[in-house]
């Protein structure tokens, strides 16, 4: 299959990758099945759940909404690219510290969305956090501790104040 596809080049978690993809291949399946980056999950088929959220050229994007060929030339970060060796990213630590996950299936997408939120808004209010999570569904946590995890992380990475 790969031999007959369209050649693309992407940088994923800092590593340049070249591959041939079918024109109809979604980016999420390219990441999961061709690159073996199975931390990015698929939870729906209507782009509602956000489990597949990654960073594409610095923006949080649902990787089920774009084709792999559209990512040609892009810089991609997945959940596997957040930690530095054994040191978890502060947001990963925050999710653990505040019990922001249970089954862990939505978690990679949640974390990628949350990291992007703090990049664009380092001191979000609780309402801003909830609004930022609009595109990410969780069925286990009731979101309560996900919000707490993001607040914790914002403080940890230097936000000067988190107001309610």
């Amino acid at each position: 299959m790969s031999d007959e596809g369209i050649k693309i080049g992407v940088t994923v978690n800092g590593v340049k990758r070249e591959a041939a993809v079918e024109p109809r291949e979604l980016l999420v399946y390219f990441l999961r099945e061709q690159l073996g980056l199975t931390g990015t999950h698929v939870g729906c088929d209507t782009s509602q759940c956000g489990a597949c959220t990654i960073h594409l050229n610095g923006c949080a994007v649902k990787s089920c909404t774009i084709l792999a060929v559209q990512a040609d030339g892009a810089e991609i970060v997945t959940i596997e690219g957040l930690a530095r060796g054994d040191a978890l990213h502060p947001m990963q630590e925050g999710f653990r510290e505040k019990h922001g996950l249970q089954c862990g299936y939505c978690t990679p997408g949640m974390i990628m969305t949350a990291v992007y939120l703090l990049k664009t808004n380092p001191n979000p209010t609780e309402d801003e956090i909830k609004r930022a999570l609009e595109g990410n569904l969780c069925r286990c946590t009731g979101y309560v501790n996900i919000v707490e995890a993001i607040k914790w992380t914002a403080q940890k990475i230097g936000g000067d104040r988190v107001s309610r």
Partner: protein, 765 residues
């Protein structure tokens, strides 16, 4: 936070989860993450019709498409999903893995394809041509009982699968002598479990004839037995692995058709086969919850004493019976009187086939329906009799000194203090103050309501659970539990228990679960049973290991085993603390030169069956406000007080309540699986099925009381379903409290804005 190295005090500590570093790093392994060389992918053609005869299926085009390895229809594979007879005399129409002759629900698979890629399999499935002749369909269970209703299963004479009754006391006398009778009709909305990980299976035939199957399941051993039965393949040749499982909420309990088909193809083609559900497929194939319609009468004395209860439950089973489809209606019956002393009770379930997705356990599984029924009745009784709703509850509560208490339907509650729980909820909610706030708002013409629910939360049960504690040769501890996790934190909570019992640090304990080749046997995780059943098995196995280890320690220390006591990390001679041995030394002795009178090895197993369920309880209070112009209901305050006995890990318990609450709010305000009258699925995707998002979550206050379970070695009760059981009723009572001034007596959930707006308009004429 308690440090993980503290060898005692672990039970009761909010230890951070052992599971998390892997999961937050994207290094978990869910079923769809399993990739095997030479693996094929399965796709299914499903019926768009809710009820139809199959005229023909033409798969010739699909068979010749690129990458296609095999195509099967119901003519080729005559396997069925096995279903136990839960109720004597119940009808058992077949549940074929591929439809034969007819389909009875939209989404029923009629053909299966395996191909070399997911996309090619889907292409081929779409190229199969199936011709149907539509038959009349019925989707509402009460309508299915009306004369002349279409037959959901055309091979049967009626839509009734079974009728079951639980009763006690003299109900007719109670009603004949009643001063007042409250009558209500209440329905619970059909809900979708919506574990974010869709179901999946990978089946791998082994060279020796074994079959390894990765499944997204809550019950690896039970599913393995059903899989063996369905396939006609020896159970001991099948290894089921439940790797990381992305949520279940009851829906991943039973064996599903696709699992059997994937295994069938794998055995036939001698190649690994993967199937992963799309969300759309899960919407029309995973067991759905609730959908019980309850017609009830509550008999009372003028002073509010409840004397009799009659309930007729019409339970919608869907079209096909899964192994646990009859579970929720049975549960509903067993807890019908709730936390009240009602000595004369008659509960009847009429279980009905319809042309809808099968129902089964979904977080609560009969409990929320039962609580909703009795709590709405009690509130309505208070209103009709002019008695305060708290006073009527207090008057009828089972009192602490009455436990263990056998209810009129023959179930024994272990322990409880319902007034204490209610008092705590009132305190935390500033109840008197919110009533004043309500009354002031009401005087201004606003629609504000306060609601209370007091409820019981049965947990555990469903047979046994197993636990093995093994001390390895180096003294490290391995725990094998039949209670496999799908997000509940078993690897943390069970390690807390084992580490505390054995007096070692948690990092010397490994919890293993979810693999039938490694684990002795098991039942699984559902019905709030893991801490009760898995925890009970584990603690008894640990006690047995300790007892045996003392004998080895006695030998090493040249003392009598009666004189050996546990110390941190091992054992010592009582009163001589310097005469001590470590677990490592004990384990070496247990696996070394045989000792007289002692069987080698240091491993003990318990199949735990306390022969009773654990009855947690709680009190929830809601303050809500309704926007008169839009009908939107807003929660202003929500207080949840739950009692689950001794708490192992408060952080995990709170997380369970948060998650259950989100699902409760979904039920109360927005979630409902809706079918058109012709059986068409109208809410079959996340676009039109309204799952709660972060913004739905209201301000929240959690509280607790602790009433240890006197019949359990750890004193624990379950808590996983507490919020789904209690919160919807508190909210329903609050919404009706707000609307009562308009003369509204009852509205069924979900309380969507258009529904409430229309009710207000109707009431205002």
């Amino acid at each position: 936070m308690t440090t993980q190295h503290a060898p005692s005090g672990l039970i009761g500590a909010s230890v951070r989860r052992v599971e998390d570093p892997v999961l937050v790093s994207g290094k978990g392994c869910f079923v769809d993450d399993v990739q095997l060389p030479g693996m094929l992918y399965m796709a299914l053609l499903r019926s768009p019709y809710p009820h139809a005869k199959i005229i023909s299926i033409d798969a010739s085009a699909a068979r010749s498409m690129p990458g296609v390895e095999a195509v099967l229809t119901g003519d080729d594979v005559k396997l069925n999903i096995p279903s136990p007879v839960m109720i004597p005399g119940q009808k058992m129409p077949p549940h074929p893995v591929l439809a034969r002759g007819a389909v009875h629900a939209a989404g029923t698979p009629v053909a299966a394809v395996v191909a070399t890629s997911r996309a090619l399999a889907e292409d081929a499935a779409n190229a199969i041509e199936a011709e149907y002749e539509a038959l009349p369909a019925v989707v509402n269970a009460e309508k299915a009982l009306e004369p002349g209703a279409p037959l959901a299963r055309e091979e049967l004479e009626s839509n009734v699968c079974y009728t079951a009754i639980k009763k006690g006391g003299d109900v007719e006398k109670a009603f004949a002598e009643a001063d007042h009778i409250v009558r209500m009709h209440i329905t619970s909305p059909r809900q979708v479990a919506m574990a974010i990980e869709p179901r999946g299976a990978v089946a791998k035939p082994e060279p020796n004839g074994d079959l390894t199957v990765w499944l997204s399941t809550q019950s690896p051993h039970r599913v393995r037995a059903d899989l063996a039965t369905s396939l006609g393949y020896p159970e001991h040749r099948i290894r089921v692995i439940a790797p990381d499982v992305g949520g279940g909420f009851g829906s991943k309990g039973p064996l599903y058709r696709e699992y059997v088909l994937a295994c069938h193809f794998a055995l036939k083609l001698k190649r690994p086969v993967k199937w992963t559900a799309t969300r759309s497929e899960d919407f029309v194939t995973v067991i759905q919850g609730r959908d019980q319609a309850m017609t009830s009468e509550l008999a009372l004395k003028r002073d509010g004493t409840m004397t009799g209860l009659k309930v007729r439950v019409v339970a919608n089973l869907g079209a096909y019976l899964c192994s646990n489809t009859a579970g929720p209606p049975q549960r509903m019956m067993a807890m019908a009187p709730g936390c009240y002393q009602i000595r004369n009770v008659h509960v009847e379930v009429v279980a009905v086939f319809t042309n809808t997705v099968s129902t089964g356990p979904y977080r609560g599984a009969g409990r929320p329906e039962s609580v909703l029924n009795i709590e709405r009745l009690v509130d309505q009784a208070a209103r009709e009799l002019g008695i305060d709703r708290l006073a009527i509850r207090r008057k009828n509560f089972i009192r602490p000194e009455q436990f263990p208490y056998k209810t009129a339907v023959g179930v024994e509650y272990d322990s409880g203090d319902y007034e204490k729980s209610l008092d705590e909820a009132l305190r935390l909610s500033n109840y008197d103050e919110i009533l004043r706030y309500r009354d002031a708002a009401r005087a201004r013409g606003e629609l504000v309501g306060v609601g209370v629910s007091t409820f019981v939360e049965p947990s555990g049960g469903a047979g046994f659970e197993s636990g093995t504690v093994r001390v390895e040769r180096t003294g490290e501890i391995t725990v094998l539990t039949g209670s496999s996790s799908h997000g509940q934190g078993h690897e943390t909570a069970f390690a807390q228990i084992a580490a505390e019992k054995l007096r070692v640090s948690m990092d010397h304990v490994a919890i293993r679960h979810g693999d039938t080749m490694a684990i002795q046997q098991g039942v699984g995780t559902f019905g709030s049973r893991s801490a009760v059943m898995g925890g009970g098995a584990l603690v008894i196995a640990a006690d047995r290991v300790i007892a045996k280890a003392r004998r080895f320690a006695a030998h090493l220390l040249e003392a009598s085993h009666e004189d050996i006591v546990q110390t941190d990390g091992g054992f010592a001679v009582a009163g001589v603390p310097e005469k001590k041995v470590t677990w490592r030394q004990v384990a070496a002795a247990a696996h070394g030169r045989p000792l007289p009178g002692l069987e080698p090895g240091l491993q003990e197993t318990c199949f735990f069956d306390p022969r009773r369920e654990a009855w947690g309880f709680g009190s929830h209070v809601a303050l809500i406000k309704i926007d008169r112009d839009s009908g939107e209901v807003k929660i202003e305050k929500l207080v949840l007080v739950d009692d689950c006995g001794v708490i192992i890990n408060p952080m995990i318990v709170e997380g369970q309540i948060h998650g259950g609450l989100a699902q409760a709010l979904g039920e109360a305000f927005r979630e409902q699986m809706i079918y058109g009258d012709d059986g068409e699925v109208l809410t079959g995707s996340l676009i039109n099925y309204a799952m709660p998002r972060a913004e739905l979550m209201p301000p929240l206050t959690l509280g607790e009381t602790v009433t240890p379970n006197p019949f359990h070695p750890l004193g624990v009760k379950g808590v996983g379903e507490a919020a789904t059981n209690g919160a919807p009723s508190a909210i329903a009572n609050a919404v009706i409290d707000a609307l009562a001034p308009l003369g509204i007596k009852h509205i069924d959930m979900p309380y969507t804005a258009p529904k409430i707006w229309a009710a207000i308009k109707r009431a205002e004429g």
